[in-house]
Symmetry: C2
């Protein structure tokens, strides 16, 4: 297969970190990205080039392009962590196959992406494009963090930003394993659909005395794990309202709060703990057989319908600079970039 | 041996918790304790009564009598967690022996204390009274937390309140095991003596830009463990200035700050962790052989002089209500109560 020399891509304008902490919201991409024609990446040893069919847009992508993520930006390189496509070059038996990928070498918001061939995930033919394009970051994180929940031994757990795509995956896992999800959301409007999905309780932070509600719920359900994508003061308050041995597992930072530890003594006397979860580290540390096993489960879940991808919108690569912020602002769904359009 | 029916004791005036968080300073004991004559405790199954020779006063005692410690007060029962004395009643082969004890049933700030016989620690005859009276809480905590430091694999560690009795024990352990102590103290005057004791670096919070100093030190020494008895904002700032994989181990709350987590993302990307240490839990969870082994080491250290107890003052029980706050206010030494005087 002959690759073209050039491709369209959303290219990063900056190197390294910004030093700011402004959260994953974005109204204008132009300070960070530019829509350009650049060279198609050439694979080195162990690398594969993928013709992108559909790229996902995750909160971590926005943190990253703003220079606020845990790894440095590289100026001139396309953005976009995750996508779906066809393997078109590289030393891999998967040449010609449809794969999900995490773009470690050249980003997914482009006509062609490049990554380590060892990380490619072949997709079942009956797996829908939106499910396949987002099957790494959110679904694998959900599986990994739910392993933590199962190991906690409790029969309930707390998650916030519960209306997010990842939140909904976690609620469905809780429902299917009989471990009650306690969902924390901002808006009353989200509560009903999350209950229908399988949330045992919904705490709405926009309502009166959400902490009081949480305390009542915790008294009955005794959750041990708090899966936190927000990192605000209310999260800290929730943590200190949880029973002994609670673990606050932070994996995202939707809020720009610097939450205060108002009852530090609970770390001592109630054996509580605060830690972080990062998929990248988990993948290095977990028993390697867990990952392919997880992808079998992930694809089966999407195909059987126990998981579903809510789509906020699919934006053509050619006008993503213009349209992406507007689609990202829509509640309760995931945005995608289509480089074929 | 016939016990008297009555004894002098400092009796708690309140039950349970106060709900306040005012720290371990105290200027007046009268809101919390009263000097009274009460019945000598009678041992139940598995309990022992000890004629107290000398009782220690630790920060945890002050937190406790103020209703701010991790276990509830009992009105009418003597205060005081720790002491030295002679076993005078109870079903134990240690009857008549000199023991250190943790007063679980009736407190040590009294002529007689009562505890579980299984927790009595026989003392070598050459162990000084002040060393023996304080050999449980601080020395065992030092040994236990230094095990955490050793397990971290780093060749340095950070400790604050480093001028405290416990701080000095930890510095000596670091010195003797070749794991460099980075000592954090408030006053410049403390720095020289801690360096002489074995601190590799001293960070003085009262000096200009202590965080900048800490960053330079951490760059070179790369400590992984922060042993924290303070829990203030500077502790949080230190933690976030430490390298990847740092663990903030809180074991005390000298400050009344509610420290803010200004860089929560480090939990995710740098695998940092916040946890608590409580000796009571450690004693339940550790390999049981570690405890008697630790007491052999503790007594040997005091007798050989690699550890020493700095005494701020010894107050007779009969006027402890008056004099104790003044002795506690002296820097850099430990207060004791003598019920024989």
């Amino acid at each position: 297969m002959t690759l073209p020399a050039q491709m369209k891509a959303l290219i990063q304008l900056h190197d390294g970190y910004s030093g700011t902490q402004t959260g994953p919201n974005i109204t204008d991409l132009t300070p960070f990205l530019t829509d350009e024609t650049v060279s198609v990446p050439a694979p080195g040893d162990g690398q594969a080039v993928i013709k992108v069919h559909l790229a996902a847009v995750n909160p971590s992508d926005i943190h990253f392009i703003k220079g606020e993520y845990g790894q440095p930006r590289i100026k001139g390189v396309p953005a976009g962590f995750e996508g779906l496509g066809e393997v078109v070059a590289g030393d891999t038996p998967l040449l010609g196959q449809r794969v999900s990928f995490f773009a470690s070498a050249s980003g997914a918001w482009a006509e062609y992406a490049m990554t380590d061939a060892s990380g490619l995930v072949p997709c079942r033919p009956d797996l829908a494009e939106v499910d396949a394009a987002g099957q790494l970051v959110n679904p694998l994180t959900a599986i990994a963090m739910f392993d933590i929940v199962k190991e906690s031994g409790a029969d309930s757990f707390v998650l916030n930003a519960a209306g997010s795509q990842l939140g909904k995956l976690l609620i469905a896992l809780g429902r299917d394993h009989g471990i009650k999800p306690i969902a924390v959301v901002r808006r009353t409007a989200q509560a009903e659909s999350l209950r229908a999905l399988g949330a045992a309780e919904v705490i709405v932070t926009g309502e009166l005395d959400p902490l009081g509600t949480a305390k009542d719920v915790f008294q009955t359900l005794k959750p041990r794990i708090l899966l936190d994508a927000v990192g605000d003061q209310f999260t800290s308050d929730l943590f200190f309202a949880m029973p002994s041995h609670a673990r606050w597992v932070n994996y995202g930072k939707l809020s720009t709060d610097a939450p205060a530890l108002t009852q530090l003594g609970q770390m001592i006397f109630q054996n509580k703990q605060i830690e972080g979860f990062w998929l990248t580290r988990w993948m290095k540390e977990v028993d390697p057989s867990r990952i392919p096993q997880a992808f079998v489960e992930i694809q089966e879940r999407f195909i059987s319908g126990t998981w579903k991808t809510d789509v906020a919108g699919i934006v053509p690569l050619s006008n993503a600079m213009d349209k992406l912020p507007e689609v990202l602002a829509r509640p309760d769904g995931k945005a995608f970039i289509d480089p074929r359009a």
